[in-house]
Amino acid sequence: MAINYIYPEFDVIRDPNRCITCRICERECSNGVHIYDADRKTLRADETKCVDCQRCVATCPTRALKIVKNTCALRENENWHENSIKEIFKQASSGGVLLSSMGAPNPLAVYWERILLNASQVTNPSIDPLREPMETRVFLGRKPSKITRRPDGTLDTTLAPQLELETPIMFSAMSYGSISYNAHASLARAAQELGIFYNTGEGGLHEDFYQYGAHTIVQVASGRFGVHEDYLNAGAAIEIKMGQGAKPGIGGHLPGAKIVGDVSKTRMIPEGSDAISPAPHHDVYSIEDLRQLVFSLKEATRYQKPVIVKVAAVHNIAAIASGIARSGADIIAIDGYRGGTGAAPTRIRDNVGIPIELALASVDKRLRDEGIRNDVSLVVGGSVRNAADVVKAIALGADACYIATAALIALGCHLCRTCQTGRCNWGIATQRAELVKRLDPDEGRRRLVNLLTAWRYEIMEIMGGMGINSIETLRGNRSMLRGVNMTSKELEILGIAHAGE
């Protein structure tokens, strides 16, 4: 037998005094970590399969289980980190590209954490959101550059199609296929209740979810899965996915094993066939091609829906965004380096793209320098983790934020980062019926609504402290931000002053 070079990452600690051998852990673990030993009438564990998703811990009725990081360690090396060595072991064993899930976990600059917010003292009053109106409504879409009047002198109030959000947060694209039916149902129901939008991702729209169309953004990606006229007209907006923060420049691959039943039907591809999204759209090799696609989609929907173009934050993002703004798009969505994914090559995820904070700041500035900021709205995602991140993003210049990882965590995801295996014990990133049913869509809806309700309260509290009672005047209000632990260049790109200035 070949030697396994990789010692298990986690230890499964079972307290024998607490364990009542109920075998729930055994049933709950789709990875087969917990094994019942009939002879000894005890449970034992195969740690090699453990991904630390915490499902067994959460479901153990006697709290007999703990998953901890294995202390067995390689000899310390500041150059050859343990992870680097283990990746080589894996590749030497498999000969393949390393795959990962969710956002990049490495300790690269998280600028949100180096930005601090302002509050009113003395010279102007803070505003108490419990006593005064505090407005968080925003409209996404193109705004006219010139006011026009009808012959009788009244304002001509026709406006390009807009998305109206009660809170400037939306659920970002996650396809049906990469996540489960119940996860989609949770997102759709929550979006409807919250007065916001969720996003189909590139896997089409299940016929059961057409009823949530007014709160749905339908996505058109390079694979064009599930795209047809009814689909385009079913949503409130259409998003062209040009790129994704977790894997800029490359396409996607949903294994045939996941293309079963309704997933196959919704994607309009045969069961068991791999769903390959090409790296580029093969009808978009240039900015003028993008313009044609934007207008094809507008034609197909009679100019009733705003078109979003989603791109990954890459080096030249400001110029790219400027081009998109001039291509007829109504909204630009930018996905940052730390954005999540259901599966991406590790090297791509951890090395390609730039942090969303810097991308957002430079795009907002470029669009203003060119006088076209009003032609488009900006939506940013790629690791927006809490209400403070949202406030900072909006003050840097975003109209709204996309969240996906945070939404999945609300649904029970524990960020074990093994979505690509399809064995999600929380019923989220899986198509196995017995796992999917673990996620109750109504409970999921409730938790998502709770999360965003809580964030909205926090946003209002922060705004009130700044003396701002409408989110419109927080947008691009960079004087409300100060940086700490940053170089002059970083501050210059973010367009903010250092704390103390």
Binding site: T123, L159, N374, N469, E472
Partner: protein, 363 residues
């Protein structure tokens, strides 16, 4: 210490205004008096006035009031002005030397008309051309600052208490159909003459009491359209917003008020009137021009004034009238100082514009 414009300066203040709806011309003496009971609302770091109808003999010409740090700055600026304008009169603005006002710069005024040949070459109307000239001088010419640029109106301002500034500029010698006044209480300025109020562009002038929390959102939006906020004060950005919405977008004063002190969505949602849908439309189109935080402003323009409070009314402001003369001030005491018999004292609601216009043809 950084100069004004390099650092953002919040300030509290006193404002007042008076206007005759029949266009009767009143000397500047009365408006100066209004600032005396509000002395404690200023701290001696800025005061100023704007008078409308004060230059009837030059009503066809733009009156540029300019501060120069030194003669070389004036020389450079005049050289530039001559490229685009006919200068019909160039003179020092008369002052009274008083101990309360010190560090006096060169204070000059020019009555000018843009050269028709230049306008046709640039394909600009004369207002736009003058606005661009002012922006260029204030952002690019060292040691020169244009603080008033309208027709038949003028702003007068300095570092000092407003009642002293009024005496310094000999305002009793001017007569106008409307006047606005300002006393400043900045919290961290070294005191620069250009930073005092009113802030004026073309014939729009703004006096303002408050500290808007929306400043940088407003600034970054308005700078897309060629304006340069060189002072980093609320008043400056409000003046540019007024110019942009009124002159360039053609909004009415009521519509302007509806943008900068927008009604709450809850109010708009509850109404199905045409007016509500127009106001909702403006709110959707100009979200970045909403002003939040406390303010009371008086916007002066040719033939009228508009007073407006922030939508929560976080700053005091009252109005009153006596026959054809209407008064606006931070405190009723200031109105009493102008006219002890003023009646109809009224405290406008947050976001409720008070617009007073001179009868057509009377100015």
């Amino acid at each position: 210490m950084q100069r004004e414009g390099q650092v953002r300066i919040p300030s509290g203040c006193a404002i007042s205004a008076m206007i005759s709806t029949t266009g009767a011309r009143m000397t500047g003496e009365t408006i100066v008096k209004s600032m005396i009971p509000m002395h404690d609302r200023s701290n001696g770091l800025g005061g100023g006035f704007a008078g409308y109808g004060i230059y009837p003999e030059y009503r066809e010409f733009y009156a540029l009031h300019v501060f120069f740090d030194d003669p070389s700055a004036q020389y450079e600026c005049e050289k530039y002005l001559k490229e685009g304008y006919e200068i019909v009169k160039s003179e020092s603005i008369p002052i009274r030397k008083i101990p309360e006002i010190t560090d006096v710069p060169i204070i000059w005024r020019y009555f000018v008309a843009p050269l028709a040949s230049v306008l046709s070459r640039l394909q600009l109307d004369e207002h736009e051309f003058v606005a661009r000239t002012v922006t260029k001088i204030n952002s690019q010419f060292r040691g020169a600052y244009v603080f008033s640029s309208g027709k038949n109106m003028g702003a007068f301002k300095a570092v000092g208490f407003p009642e002293d500034v009024g005496r310094f500029y000999r305002l009793e010698e001017y007569a106008g159909y409307s006047w606005t006044a300002h006393g400043r209480y900045p919290t961290n300025t070294p005191g620069w003459w250009g930073g005092a109020h009113p802030f004026a562009l073309l014939d729009y002038s703004v006096v303002h009491n408050g500290e808007i929390s929306s400043y940088d959102a407003n600034r970054r939006f308005i700078e897309m359209f060629g304006y340069r906020c060189t002072l980093q004060t609320d008043t400056e950005v409000i003046a540019y917003i007024a110019d942009y919405l009124l002159r360039r977008q053609g909004l009415t004063l009521e519509e302007l008020a509806s943008v900068i002190a927008a009604p709450f969505w809850s109010e708009l949602d509850a109404s199905e009137s045409v007016e509500s849908s127009s106001r909702a439309y403006l709110r959707k189109v100009f979200p970045s021009l909403l002003l939040t935080g406390p303010f009371s402003i008086v916007l002066g323009f040719t033939g009228g004034v508009m007073a407006l409070n922030d939508r929560l009314k976080l700053r005091s402001m009252v109005t009153a009238s006596n026959r054809d003369v209407h008064y606006i001030a931070s405190e009723e005491a200031a109105i009493r100082a102008m006219d002890p018999d003023a009646r109809n004292v009224y405290s406008p609601a947050g976001g409720e514009p008070v617009i007073i216009k001179v009868e057509e043809g009377a100015y």
